[in-house]
């Protein structure tokens, strides 16, 4: 998302509302998506997926606390979850791509993380969706931070 160089009219801090709301939208959609894969389609999540869930699900509850009333400091708490989540998602992507060698793969029992369960349009996998979601959330939260400082 375009980081906010344009200053919104009125209260500078208020300009942070939209990006935080956007980040919440993505977190909520990702959470529901993960629940759909897990609970509706009954695909068992692999270990790395669980870690990404751990970082994604709380965002759905924490970000709205910074929206009502608007508290731009929620960016700090949000990033504390989104950054590690993004790291796990990146690691997962590298694992699926085969960049990370098999030997340091953390999950050998149960559902292997390198297994591709879903591939939409030939490229869209669950780890890719997760990585895109986390990086967009990070970008939006950083944008909110920059806007609120103006």
């Amino acid at each position: 998302m375009n980081s906010a160089r344009s200053v919104a009219p009125g209260d500078a801090a208020a300009a942070a509302w939209m990006p935080i709301f956007g980040a919440w939208l993505i977190a909520a959609a990702s959470t529901l998506g993960a629940l759909f894969f897990g609970e509706v389609m009954q695909l068992p999540p692999c270990v790395l997926c669980w870690y990404q869930r751990i970082f994604m699900f709380p965002l759905v509850l924490i970000l709205p606390l910074g929206l009502f009333p608007l508290d731009p400091r929620v960016v700090r708490y949000g990033l504390a979850l989104a950054l590690p989540g993004g790291l796990v998602a990146t690691f997962h992507l590298l694992l699926v791509a085969g960049v990370v060698p098999e030997s340091i793969k953390p999950c050998t029992q149960g559902v292997p993380c390198s297994e591709t369960v879903i591939e939409w349009f030939g490229f869209l996998t669950i780890p890719l969706l997760s990585a895109v979601a986390f990086s967009t959330i990070i970008a939006l939260l950083v944008a909110a931070h920059l806007r609120s400082r103006k």
Binding site: W17, L25, L32, F68
Partner: protein
């Protein structure tokens, strides 16, 4: 405030989308499962399977059962109740899915009991007293003998019959058919060839009621 409205609408839309998607997915999956079972109907009923109830019954329940499975033991009396409530209209066919460790030996004992004409007595005794011989999800075959003796079986004959190759063949065929029908959990029920949409006694009752209603028409 406008922002609150926006937030609430977005939250509701997301939830609604989730619910609609889940419903659509389940409907489609149910349909696929039905078609799959219909396509593999040949694997559902074999001549060798023990059955209870009249051959001309309009509703046939095929149950994949593991005698060592707790839920199977819990469901068995419920199915019997449904059958008792509709006398002469339901036939129960048992297929074996001995997924628990040691359970295949228990199935062999049941099949041997069938040769003595005491199959259902043996099965009901073993299911009712399952706690006596299933430990940590493994069947302790040594503990079924006193129960079978109490059910009136000739143990000596039973043990020699158990080793019959046709019994091993029955178990093998049933496991193969379970695999073909994608039965991975027990008990699994097919009512007139239709699988349960969801697991549970209510979906089973509903499926049986539907089949009974369809046969009345």
């Amino acid at each position: 405030m406008k922002q609150k409205t926006l937030f609430v609408i977005a939250a509701l839309l997301l939830l609604l989308g989730f619910i609609v998607a889940a419903l659509l997915y389940n409907v489609e999956k149910e349909e696929q499962a039905g078609q799959f079972a219909a396509a593999n109907n040949a694997a559902l009923v074999r001549m060798h399977s023990p059955s209870l109830g009249p051959a001309e019954a309009s509703v046939v329940i095929v149950e994949f059962l593991d005698p060592a499975c707790e839920t199977c033991a819990a469901f068995y009396p419920l199915v019997k109740q449904i059958m008792a409530a509709n006398p002469g209209r339901i036939r129960l066919v048992l297929r074996y899915a001995p997924f628990h460790k040691g359970s295949d030996q228990v199935v062999a004992a049941l099949e041997a009991a069938r040769k003595q004409g005491k199959y259902w007595q043996a099965l009901e005794m073993l299911l009712a007293r399952q706690n006596d011989w299933v430990q940590n999800h493994a069947a302790q075959v040594a503990r079924i003998w006193p129960l079978l003796e109490a059910a009136g079986l000739d143990l000596q004959k039973l043990r020699s019959d158990m080793a019959a190759p046709e019994i091993a063949g029955v178990i093998e065929q049933d496991l193969l058919d379970a695999q073909t029908l994608k039965v991975t959990k027990t008990p699994e029920y097919f009512v007139n060839g239709k699988p349960l949409p969801r697991f549970g006694i209510e979906p089973l009752k509903q499926l049986i009621d539907e089949a009974l209603a369809a046969s009345r028409r």
